[in-house]
Amino acid sequence: MSGPRYERSKRQDQHLIGFECQACGWVSFPEEKRTCKRCGDAPAEMEEVQLAERGEIQTFVVQQYLPDDIETPQPVAIVDLPQEGEGEPARAYGLLTETDLEEIDVGTEVVARFRELFSDGERPINSFKFSVPREEKA
């Protein structure tokens, strides 16, 4: 399919759909890879799987220098999102939102939050970020 990237990946960007390699079980997210990054199967047979909206931070980096409109420090995390069913979790890269650095560590549980990721001209493009659950701030 042609057209802008956010239209092509709209479904997985808004629904947390991953793609599971039928040869080895590795889960690709958000793109469906033609070649499995783990077992190298090509063209890989990928099956869609639904990912959970709650996962664990595996590691994170903190970005300090970003365009003016983005608040810093901006943590970016690698989050393992389990599948709704059986199978391996997907490894997702995500920005953290409404989360202070003191609140996160490796192993912290975070939830997927549907947020404005960027704008295409005036049009907001929404997809997933992560945050500590709101109830933990109550």
């Binding site: 947020r115 960027f118 704008s119 295409d120 907001p124 929404n126 709101r134 109830e135 701030k137």
Partner: protein, 331 residues
């Protein structure tokens, strides 16, 4: 009969203390107003409330037949909210979407429209109110500009509904005092005049039609000011459930956010009424709460009200402006 089978609200994390706004802007201030984060917009906030309502309903997003949204602050003339909420929830294809706007009556109009859809099609419908009121530093109501969302799922019947919808009423008077152009501060006009000839003529008539003689014990109201919201409920002797002290003016969404809060905190068997007053008249919806009231999950309106971070007047103004970056690189 049409029932509410799920209810949920959403309030942004950040709050500005209205007394801080008053200190810099002039005037007096009491309470707080919710400030959306930089990366929140009407669609994302509506989705948060809708997720919470659907989680408590015995229906999946993909099974919805209609999504009706109400907003008086959608910044887009063409773009819409309802279809994007529907898409995110998995309700695509043969799904009716309706964006109601132009008056705070949109909240009760959305409930009425969704109810008619449910009756005609025997399919569930989602109603979401979402607003981010503009904060104009030249305006007197800058401190009160709030943000929030509320949602309910309507169905023909349910095993454990939160409420039965028992009556609808409206009063179209054509009266307009408070009004606002896109991107400009509201013209609030003469509050006394509006009280007498605006809300005073429309709200009691709509409420009476909806209640049809029933006596409510709880009520929520959406109106351009707290004073007008109180006046909208002038004809009923009921406890007003309102988040306005903590959230500020949440526009048409206030009716649905406060309704979610009411359903989370009410006992079963209570008569309640939702009144929305705005440009052109008023609408009212009567309901009878049932065993599905309350909440067992963590995402209650009360939690959203408790979980907050103070922010500044500058951010109260700045966070409402659209973001201007085209992509963030992830490693």
């Amino acid at each position: 009969m049409v029932v509410i089978d799920g209810h949920g609200g959403y309030v942004p994390l950040y709050r500005v203390d209205r007394s801080e706004v008053a200190a810099q802007h002039g005037g007096r201030g009491r309470g707080e107003s919710a400030v959306p984060a930089r990366d929140e917009n009407h669609v994302t906030m509506a989705c948060e409330a809708a997720d919470n309502a659907l989680a408590r309903a015995d229906v999946a997003g993909a099974d919805l037949g209609a999504v009706v949204t109400a907003s008086v602050s959608d910044p887009f003339a063409e773009h819409g909210i309802a279809a994007h909420v529907a898409y995110r929830l998995g309700a695509t294809g043969d799904v009716r979407t309706t964006d109601l706007r132009g008056s705070r009556r949109a909240a009760t109009d959305a409930l009425a429209s969704a109810r008619e859809f449910v009756v005609a099609n025997d399919a569930p419908a989602l109603v979401v109110g979402v607003d981010v009121l503009p904060a104009d530093p030249d305006s007197d109501d800058v401190a009160e500009a709030g943000a929030g969302a509320g949602a309910v799922v309507l169905r023909p019947e349910a095993d454990e509904p939160a409420a039965d919808l028992t009556g609808f009423g409206q009063a179209t008077t054509g009266f307009v005092e408070h009004h606002r152009r896109h991107g400009e501060a509201a013209e609030t006009g003469d509050a006394k005049f509006e009280g007498r000839h605006g809300v005073g003529e429309a709200a009691p008539a709509a409420t009476e039609r909806a209640l049809d003689g029933a006596a409510p014990v709880k009520a929520v109201a959406a109106a351009p000011s707290g004073r007008l919201a109180g006046a909208a409920l002038g004809g009923v002797d009921a406890e007003q459930v309102s988040t306005r002290e903590q959230v500020g003016d949440a526009g048409a969404a206030a009716a649905l956010l406060d309704l979610a809060h009411l359903l989370e905190t009410a006992d079963a068997g209570d008569t309640a009424v939702v009144v929305a007053y705005g440009a052109g008249g008023a609408g009212a919806v009567a309901l009878q709460t049932a065993d599905g009231v309350g909440t067992t999950d963590a995402r209650s309106v009360a939690t959203y009200l408790d979980a907050k971070e103070e922010t500044t007047y500058a951010k109260h103004l700045e966070y409402r402006e659209p973001v201007e970056y085209e992509g963030v690189k992830t490693p």
